[in-house]
């Protein structure tokens, strides 16, 4: 099978900015004590076509950073990433929705950010509305929306646009654990299934261990920026669970 993702010795450091980070402040502080956080230290792995990989680890272990680097949002300090196809990063939290625009306008905006033409957006438009179940609020500005509604809208738009784009690698960052009721989560899973069946490789970062066990072909456990264990999801999850309970 074709290799979709090859990650080789990725490292990433983040500068920890001190409070006084104005230009003048930096100029006047003589001690050049820059502090770094090593978010990722030497990460390497590979992913094949149609493979589902789960990424687990405690908070701040580097899961999101890793996905963001693969998705091209961050740049690694060193190391190499080879991608065979287009990678799309999808996060459950941050959304680029504009609170003072209506739902309809937001859908078009996100669509164009995804690089779709107006004609294509119109084609998916109805599906998005059906998916989100927010038909009544089409012309309401989204600052009037509740958090649950926003989550639904955010997802409905992105997932449906994704299906219309050639997407070979899908990077899901805490997608299934952010708002949305059971019913909606099922819908999202179904959509992800469809994308998967098209042959996409999917990387899921999540704290939902059951999901990882049920869904993934392989799991990676990251702790403090290093891969602790990689392999069969059940074994990796068990090792992680034991580690977490030991800490408690």
């Amino acid at each position: 099978m074709e290799k979709r993702i090859i990650v080789k010795n990725i490292r990433k450091k983040f500068k920890l900015c001190k409070k006084d980070s104005s230009f003048l402040g930096r100029l006047l502080s003589f001690s050049d004590s820059e502090d770094f956080l090593e978010a990722l230290k030497n990460i390497s792995f590979e992913a094949k076509e149609k493979e589902n990989i789960g990424i687990i680890g405690s908070n701040g272990s580097g899961k999101s950073t890793l996905l963001k680097i693969i998705g091209g949002i961050y740049e690694p300090d060193c190391g190499e990433i080879i991608l065979n196809g287009e990678a799309i990063y999808l996060s459950g939290f941050n959304n680029g929705l504009k609170s003072k625009l209506t739902m309809k306008e937001n859908i078009f905006l996100i669509g164009s950010i995804f690089g779709l033409s107006k004609r294509k957006i119109k084609k998916v438009f109805k599906r998005i509305i059906d998916f989100s179940g927010l038909e009544r609020f089409l012309d309401v500005k989204i600052n009037k929306f509740s958090t649950g509604m926003l989550t639904r809208l955010n997802f409905a738009t992105r997932i449906n646009f994704l299906k219309n784009k050639e997407c070979d690698i899908l990077l899901l960052d805490e997608v299934f654990s952010s708002g949305g009721d059971k019913n909606f989560k099922e819908k999202v899973k179904k959509e992800v299934d469809v994308i998967m069946k098209k042959g996409a490789t999917i990387l899921i970062a999540s704290h939902d261990l059951r999901l990882i066990k049920d869904y993934c072909d392989k799991a990676i456990w990251i702790e403090k920026g290093e891969i602790k264990k990689i392999g069969n999801p059940k074994e990796v999850v068990a090792a992680y669970e034991q580690y977490s309970s030991n800490i408690l």
């Binding site: 104005s22 680029g96 905006l109």
Partner: protein, 255 residues
């Protein structure tokens, strides 16, 4: 071929974002679009009143001379000022999607092209009122195009600086104020003066002067004046883009 496709995509996205933002800025305010015109118009009235008091100005069609200078400088000032914060303002977006960042900067400049059109309508009304034919506005299209490229180039540089250094917008705010007085917007340059020599290095002055010559004196400026200016505009854009592209992959971490 791939580059060409990218360019169309960037322009399309930039245009859509500009449209959305333009609408956004008019939302919820009662006067809407009039706010855009308020600043140049109020300045216009103040300067006219002061000049009227001082009395005797030798410039024919002074109100038009002034208004044209005001709106052209306004386009430069507004676009570049907003562009300075364009990366920071879209931090959330940049962190959550791999987005074409050039389009973010492009959209800020396009936004002010929209409002510039409204200013031009006012200018056209003034022209009719002063018995000048507004058909010469057609010649403004190529000038505006190159002016746009110039402003875009500067915007790319400022957006890059603004993403890393917070103070950029403050510094630029002061700089544009000084530049406003240094540019012959409400006065005429006299050869040999210090300010004249200074303005030899001010591309905005050339843009304004060329346009004035067309609008007010109904004559085409010599090519020797136009061509170098257009070359400078393209160069500014290329340099700006180069700088921007060198650093754009680091933006997400700075947000």
């Amino acid at each position: 071929m791939k580059n060409k496709k990218n360019l169309t995509k960037t322009i399309e996205l930039g245009y859509n974002l500009a449209k959305a933002n333009f609408k956004l800025r008019n939302e919820g305010s009662y006067l809407g679009i009039i706010w855009y015109l308020l600043e140049p118009l109020s300045l216009f009235i103040i300067i006219i009143l002061i000049k009227g008091n001082i009395g005797g100005n030798p410039i024919p069609n002074y109100p038009l001379y002034l208004l044209l200078g005001l709106i052209m400088f306004n386009f430069f000032k507004n676009s570049t000022t907003l562009a300075t914060n364009s990366i920071r303002n879209n931090g959330n977006l940049i962190k959550s999607i791999k987005i074409n960042k050039e389009a973010l900067v492009l959209s800020t400049v396009i936004q002010f092209v929209f409002s510039h059109f409204f200013e031009l309508i006012i200018l056209a009304i003034f022209m009719v009122y002063s018995d000048l034919s507004p058909t010469s506005l057609i010649f403004y299209i190529p000038i505006l195009f190159f002016y746009f490229l110039f402003v875009l180039g500067i915007s790319f540089i400022l957006a890059t600086l603004g993403a890393f250094i917070n103070d950029t917008s403050n510094v630029w705010g002061v700089f544009t104020k000084i530049l406003w007085f240094a540019t012959p917007i409400f006065y005429v340059l006299h050869k040999g003066t210090k300010i004249y020599i200074l303005n030899l290095f001010n591309p905005i002055t050339y843009f304004i002067e060329i346009t004035r010559q067309i609008f007010l004196f109904n004559s085409l400026p010599p090519l020797s004046k136009i061509v170098p200016l257009f070359i400078i505009s393209v160069l500014t854009l290329l340099i700006g883009l180069k700088i921007f592209q060198k650093y754009e992959n680091k933006f997400a971490e700075e947000m």
